[in-house]
C-alpha cells in the first residue's frame, strides 16, 4: 500500500515541478522513522482511515507530526462556521460541472483555516486537490533551458487536468492555487489573460485562496470586482476564528497532545487560558504557540508572559517601564523587573524617537532635583551618542545608556497617573536669528504685514 501511495504522490498531488517541496517533506518525516502520513493526498477513504487507526496507536515524536496530528479530521472539527461550510459544500456540489471551468475565491485573514477546511470539505465531496506550489529553485531542465515561472503556472492551470490520472478513477480533481507566482503581482494583465485562457480551455474547477492583508493582498490586486464579474468567479470570505471556536479547538488539540505526545508536551489549563487571552483569530499561530508554551523543557522554568504572534513592546509600555522602574530585591542585591537591554532591543531602530519620548516623560516620576540632574545629564550624553551617524552601533549604545541611566537614577519614582505625552516637535526650527529679528520688528512697524507671516511674540 505504501508503494502505491508514493506513486500516487508523485503522479497526483505533487507535480514534478514542486521538486523542492518533496525534498523538504522527506527531510521532515524521515527522522521520525514512521511511514508517511499524507492525509491530504489519498482521497480514497479506506486509505486515510487505515492511517488514522494506525496513528492513534503510536506516539508522536516530531513537531511536524504533532502539527499534523492536530489537523481536523471531520467537518465538525473545522474552525470555520457551519454557514461557510455550507457555502463551500454548495459550491462544490452545484457550481462545479464536470469538464467545465469554474473558479472560486476563498479569502480571509491568515490562519483562519481556509486551506485546511477547504481541503477537508473537498475530500468529503470526493475531490482531489492538486495544489500549485511555486518552485523556489529555478533550475534548468535537461536541455539546459530555463522555463519562466509564468509559463509553468500557465501549464499548471491549463494542462494539469486535461488528462485523467492513471491511478484515480472514481474522483474528480480540482486545482488549488494559494501561492501566486510573483510575476503576476507586477503584471496583472498577464494574469487576466491567463484567466481568460483557463476559462476557454480548462476542464476542472480551480480554487484561489487569498489572504487578506489590509487592502493590498491578492484579492484586491489580482481579482478586482470587474474581473470577478467578468468570469463569474464566486467569492467566499471567511472571518477570523472566534474565541469560542478557538477554545473548542484548543480543547480537542490539547487532548490529542496529552494522550499521544505526553512525553513531549504537557498542556495545562493554565497555558490554554493564557494562549486564549492572546488569541487574535489566527488558529495556526495559536496552536503553534500552544505547542511551544507547553513543551517540556528539562530543568528550566518557563515564564509564561505575553506570548503571542511576535511579541512586541509598545512604545507607551516601554516608556512606562523606564520611567517607573520596578526593582526585585533579593537579599543584598537587586535587579530590574524589566531588563533595560531588552527594552532597548525593541527600539534599537529608532533610538532618537525613544530618547525624545523619555525626555518628555521622565521628569513626571522624578522626585528630587538631584535625580533630575543626573537623568538630564545622561540624556544629554546619550543625545550626543545617538546623533553620531558615523557608527550605527553608537545609536544602540546611546539608547541602552539612556534607558539604563534613567532607570538607575530614579530609585524612588513618584507614584501617580502619568499619561505618556508626545514630545513637542522641534524639528522645524529655523535658526536664522536675523530673519527672526527682522520679523519681530516688522510686527512692531506694520502689524498688518506681520500678521500674514504669523509671528507671535512670546508672552511674558
Amino acid at each position: 500500500m505504501s508503494g502505491s501511495k508514493n506513486l500516487q504522490k508523485n503522479k497526483g498531488s505533487r507535480m514534478s515541478w514542486s521538486f523542492d517541496c518533496d525534498v523538504s517533506e522527506r527531510d521532515v518525516v524521515t527522522p521520525a522513522k514512521r511511514p508517511k502520513i499524507e492525509t491530504e493526498v489519498p482521497s480514497l477513504d479506506r486509505v486515510s482511515r487505515t492511517i488514522d487507526i494506525y496513528d492513534k496507536k503510536t506516539h508522536i515524536n516530531s513537531l511536524p507530526a504533532l502539527l499534523k496530528a492536530c489537523e481536523p479530521q471531520e467537518a465538525s472539527e473545522l474552525s470555520i462556521s457551519r454557514q461557510k461550510q455550507r457555502e463551500i459544500y454548495d459550491w462544490l456540489e452545484y457550481k462545479t460541472i464536470k469538464s467545465k471551468p469554474c473558479a472560486l475565491i476563498l479569502s480571509g485573514p491568515s490562519g483562519c483555516g481556509k486551506t485546511v477546511s477547504f481541503k477537508l470539505l473537498a475530500k468529503e465531496k470526493e475531490f482531489e486537490c492538486v495544489e500549485w506550489i511555486t518552485p523556489a529553485d529555478q533550475g534548468a531542465d535537461e536541455n539546459n533551458r530555463f522555463t519562466r515561472q509564468g509559463d509553468k503556472f500557465q501549464d499548471f492551470m491549463v494542462r494539469t487536468t486535461r488528462y485523467g490520472s492513471l491511478f484515480e478513477d472514481c474522483c474528480r480533481r480540482l486545482l488549488l492555487v494559494k501561492d501566486f507566482p510573483n510575476v503576476y503581482f507586477n503584471d496583472k494583465d498577464a494574469f487576466h489573460t491567463l484567466l481568460e485562457q483557463y476559462f476557454g480551455t480548462g476542464k476542472e474547477p480551480v480554487v484561489f485562496i487569498c489572504t487578506d492583508s489590509g487592502g493590498m493582498g491578492a484579492l484586491q490586486t489580482l481579482f478586482p470586482p470587474n474581473v470577478r464579474e467578468k468570469f463569474g468567479i464566486c467569492h467566499i470570505s471567511i472571518n477570523p476564528v472566534t474565541q469560542a471556536v478557538t477554545k473548542n479547538i484548543l480543547k480537542r488539540v490539547s487532548l490529542v497532545f496529552n494522550t499521544r505526545a505526553s512525553h513531549m508536551v504537557h498542556v495545562s489549563q493554565h497555558i490554554v487560558e493564557e494562549i486564549l487571552s492572546n488569541n487574535i483569530g489566527d488558529i495556526r499561530s495559536t496552536v503553534i504557540n500552544l505547542i511551544f508554551a507547553s513543551l517540556k523543557v528539562p530543568n528550566r522554568q518557563i515564564d509564561c508572559e505575553g506570548r503571542g504572534r511576535g511579541e512586541s513592546l509598545s512604545l507607551l509600555h516601554a516608556i512606562g517601564r523606564v520611567t517607573n522602574p520596578k526593582r526585585l530585591v533579593e537579599g543584598n542585591s537587586w535587579k530590574f523587573v524589566h531588563d533595560p537591554d531588552e527594552i532597548a532591543y525593541f527600539f534599537q531602530t529608532q533610538p532618537s524617537t525613544f530618547a525624545r519620548f523619555l525626555h518628555e516623560n521622565h521628569l513626571n516620576t522624578t522626585r528630587g532635583i538631584e535625580e533630575a540632574t543626573a537623568a538630564t545629564d545622561i540624556l544629554s550624553i546619550s543625545d550626543c551618542l545617538i546623533s553620531d551617524w558615523r557608527d550605527s552601533h553608537l545609536g544602540r549604545l546611546g539608547l541602552s545608556f539612556c534607558i539604563r541611566g534613567i532607570m538607575i537614577t530614579n530609585n524612588d519614582p513618584v507614584p501617580g497617573w502619568n499619561p505618556v505625552r508626545k514630545p513637542r516637535n522641534d524639528e522645524k526650527i529655523c535658526r536664522d536669528l536675523a530673519s527672526t529679528e527682522t520679523l519681530w520688528y516688522k510686527s512692531l512697524i506694520s502689524p498688518k504685514l506681520a500678521l500674514t507671516i504669523t509671528f507671535k511674540g512670546l508672552g511674558n
Binding site: 532618537s352 530618547a355 525624545r356 525626555h359 521628569l363 513626571n364 522624578t366 522626585r367 528630587g368 532635583i369 538631584e370 535625580e371 533630575a372 540632574t373 537623568a375 538630564t376 545629564d377 540624556l379 544629554s380 550624553i381 543625545d383 550626543c384 545617538i386 546623533s387 553620531d388 551617524w389 513637542r424 522641534d426 524639528e427 526650527i429 529655523c430 535658526r431 536664522d432 536669528l433 536675523a434 530673519s435 527672526t436 529679528e437 527682522t438 519681530w440 520688528y441 516688522k442 512692531l444 512697524i445 506694520s446 504685514l449 509671528f455 511674540g457 512670546l458 511674558n460
Partner: protein, 355 residues
Amino acid sequence: MSLWVDKYRPTNLGKLDYHIEQATRLVNMVQEGDFPHLLVYGPPGAGKRTRIMGIIKELYGSGAEKLRMESMNFETPSRKKLEIMTISSNYHIEVNPSDVGMYDRVVVMDLIKTVAQTHQLDATGQREFKIVLLTNVDQLTKDAQHALRRTMEKYMATCRIILCANSTSRVLPAIRSRCLGIRIPAPKINEITTILESICKREGLTVPHELAIRIAEASERNLRRAILMLEACKVQQYPFTVNQNIAELDWKVYIQNTAKLIIAEQSPKKLLEVRGRLYDLLTHCIPCDLIFKGLLQELVKNCDLELKTQIATTAAEYEHRMHHGSKAIFHLEAFVARFMAIYKKFMETSLEAFM
C-alpha cells in the same frame, strides 16, 4: 512698503558707508575675474550679506539683482522629504541649510551637485562659474561640513562657494583653509549714528543725536537691529524725543523671566515649567547659543564668585555637547537642572551656616 533695512541697503560695493578700505580691496579682487571660495565672517548685523551681494553684483552686473524665491525639495537616504527655501538669481543661489536641522548634509551635497554639474552654456561675457551662497555656516552640523569639504574641491571648476558665518570657531579647519577668510567687523557706534541720521534725512525726518546714540548702543553694534529699532521708534512716536522708549527684543525679557523662575524654586516640577519656556524660545527661532548665553548671564547674577566659575564651567560643558548632539533642548535642560542642583545645595549650606 519695504523696511528701511532693505530700502537703504547699499546695492554695490562703492556705496558702502564704513570699512571703505576693505571694500576697495574686494572690488580689486573681483575685477581680476576669479577668486577662491570665500568665508565671510563677522558679528551679526555687521553687513556681511550686503557685501556678498555687492560682490555678486560686481561680478555679474545688474542681472544678479533679479531675485526669485523658490522652495527646493530634497530626499534623505531614509526617504524623508525635506523642503527648503532658496533665493536665487540666474547666477547665484542662496540657501540656509541649517533650516533643516540635522539633515543639512543632504541639502549641502545635493544643492551643490545640482548647481555645479551644469556648466554655463555661453561662457562669453559670462563668468564660467556660478555662486552658491550658504548662510549660517556655523550652525551646520559636522557631517554637513565634512560633506562640504569634499564637494568644494570637486566642483571648483563650475562653482564658487561663499560661506557666511558669525564666527569661524565652529567651522572646520579643513574648510577654513580652503577658503579666503574675510572678516567684517561690527560698525562703531559713531558709524551707526551717522547711518541712522542719514537715513532719517533721506526719509525727511529729524532725529536727535542723543536718540541715535542711544539706539546705536542698545543695538549692541548691530546695524540691522539699529535700523529696525529706529523704524520701530518712528512708528511708536514721532516726532522723536531724546528719552523715548526703544523697543527691546521680547525674548531677552523672556529669558530674564525664565532665569527668575529657576532661581525661585528648584524642583523637577519647576524644571518642567522651564522646559516649556525653553521650547517656546526654540520654536520662535531664537538660536540655542543665544538662549544659553542669556540664561547664563542672568543666572550668575545671583551667585557669588565661587559658584560663578562652577556654573560657567557647567554651561560651557553643555554648550559644547549641544553642538555635538542634535536636540538642543536636552542640553539646555541638563544645564538648568545642574544649575538648580548646585544652587539648591549652595542655598542649603549657606542657610545652615547662618543658623
